[in-house]
């Protein structure tokens, strides 16, 4: 696997189109560039294609047309197996909810990407994954939960475990898909503080997606998906009903 160029932006999209069914584009993005270390807030109503866009960035979905470059590498030219390795090595992902594998302990959930990917393990700098997981858990205030079954955790705790997993091995890009939507205002603020602190520490680029515009002020850049996405404009300003019906 080639080492991604350090000069290239973290994310670069060019004329990307995506349709779940032929002829009905969900996304049509002429251009989007995210610089390294940037904390990007991407907002849009639910059903406007935010998760689909993150799927493209993660290389789980393949664009119908156009180029998706992550760290200077074109995901479209990779074979699917290579893309899976690339994702494990360079990307951390936090879901809206249900972030954890129910049958693994907190510790095993956090170290899962490092167990699946040798390259991600290599990023730990020779320190044992379990040890790093403990350090990270300490900073995210979940150190006492490491041996608990994940089913015993509150939603707030689960989200912090998910952040620990996304950040272990300090991947270049951390992608969050509405991770705060299940948290109340107080817990949400504490969660964001911890997330920002850890991403800054790890020099990770943060791509944070939410429909909640009140969070925008904390980020270095805010982009409305609707303004990027020509497909939404074409089908009537990203009508959420229309899009979700298509999913």
């Amino acid at each position: 696997m080639s080492s991604p160029s350090t000069a290239a932006p973290a994310v670069a999209l060019k004329d990307v189109r995506f349709a779940y069914r032929a002829g009905r584009d969900v996304l049509d993005i002429p251009a989007l560039s995210i610089a390294r270390g940037e904390h990007l807030f991407l907002h849009g109503p639910s059903g406007s294609g935010k998760t689909t866009l993150l799927g493209l960035l993660a290389g789980v979905l393949v664009p119908t047309a156009g180029r998706v470059e992550i760290l200077g590498r074109d995901l479209g030219t990779m074979k699917s197996g290579v893309r899976d390795h690339f994702r494990a090595e360079h990307l951390g992902y936090v879901f809206q909810m249900f972030n954890l594998i129910p049958y693994l302990s907190v510790r095993d959930n956090i170290t899962l990407p490092c167990r699946l990917s040798a390259a991600r393990r290599a990023r730990l700098g020779g320190v044992d994954a379990a040890v790093q997981a403990e350090q990270l858990a300490e900073r995210l205030e979940i150190a006492g939960l490491l041996d608990e079954p994940v089913t015993a955790l509150s939603v707030g705790q689960q989200q912090r475990v998910a952040v620990a997993r996304a950040l272990l091995g300090a991947p270049e890009i951390v992608v969050c898909d509405e991770p705060t939507s299940a948290l109340d205002a107080d817990r949400r603020d504490r969660f964001l503080e911890l997330l920002f602190a850890r991403c800054t520490e790890a020099k990770s680029t943060l791509v944070f997606v939410s429909h909640d515009l009140s969070l925008a002020s904390r980020f270095s850049r805010t982009v409305a998906l609707g303004s990027l996405n020509r497909a939404a404009i074409a089908t009537g300003a990203g009508d959420p009903e229309a899009v979700s019906a298509r999913r």
Binding site: T51, T52, L54, G55, A58, V60, L61, S80, G81, R83, D84, H85, R87, A88, E89, L91, Y93, F95, F98, N99, L100, I101, P102, Y103, L104, D108, L112, P113, R115, L116, S117, R120, R165, D177, R247
Partner: protein
Amino acid sequence: MMTMLSLAWASLRNRRLISTLTIASVALSVALLVGIEHVRVGVRESFAGTIKGTDLIVGARGGTSQVLLSTVFGMSTPSGTVSWATYQKWAQHPAVKWTIPYALGDAHKGHRVIGTTADFFTRYRFRDDSVRFASGVAPTDEHAIAIGSDVAERLGYSVGDSIVLSHGVAAISFAEHEAHPFIVSGVIARTFTPIDRSLYVTLEGLEAMHEEEEGAGGLPMGPPEQAHAPGEAPITSFLVGTKNRFETLTLQREMNEDRSEPLTAVIPGVALGQLWQTIGSAEVGLRVVALFTVLVGLIGMCVALYASLESRRREMAILRAVGAGPRTIVSLLVLESGLLALLGAVTGVAVVYAGLALARGAVESRFGLALTLHALGPAEWGYLALVVSAGTLVGVLPAWRAYRSSLADGLSPKL
């Protein structure tokens, strides 16, 4: 690989109930398959053990099975008679160590009566045993009769009881040998062979009975028997033990080719083998049923895995997000079904051995079936390999489905 295995194991443990049930259903079918194999071997050994230590069974010229069936199993009718002179000729043959004569033709309430000599009680071998008495002794005079354990049990006879024989083997006979009753001298201990269903008298007793009957002007018994000197009544067959087993084949050929009186000499092991070939086809049916049970167990496993997929789509999405490719997901599910099949097979074999260890004593005393705790044979290993590999393959269908939906779902399954 270790990671995949521990993931699969953790996932199965998470669905403990359904995993246990699946393992149980596979285990049951494997237990059935292996159990049938053990019982089959046991039955075959018991069958082959009906007669041991005898080198040749000789009767009047007839079919191999007929000689074997009529002499050893008390079934079918003898192919004819062997004259006393011919019997004596072969009994004194230099290669022959001992003989046991069999004179058939009479019965008692549907049970065969066999006229023989004391050699039967000392020479006859079945499995690794010889004839022993539960009570009483072997018949020595012409009014003494020994009875098998089934006869004693069914008809409620014990030593000292008086018995009247009848001519022919039908259960109801109107030709009773009333003039010559017999007294039970001994009850033979259970052998789990046709001996249990037979009665044994001396050749002299049999002859005396028939003579008294004729002398008393009894009913004509079928075709008039050839006249013979006293003590030289014809017999129906005889068993031969050779001095040197290597001479068996030569002796057999000599007997079969002798022109003075046409005989058929059969080697018990060979004849038993041929007979087993014909009646053994029933075991094929058993095996087919067992294989179908295994098939049902495997389909059940496939259904269980398939049904669990719907609730695991979120899990698949998480796995994909942290870098698991479709290949990882497929191998996870295939590994799960392989583990289930393996655990099922191991449990099934354990169940069979535990069951045999517990039940063999009861089975042996009840049915005379000596079930041995032998190690798994090549056929059984073959079955196990088949079950485990089929079980692993069964996981491919759900895995394929999981792979497809994980591609289509991306990172947000439609819950």
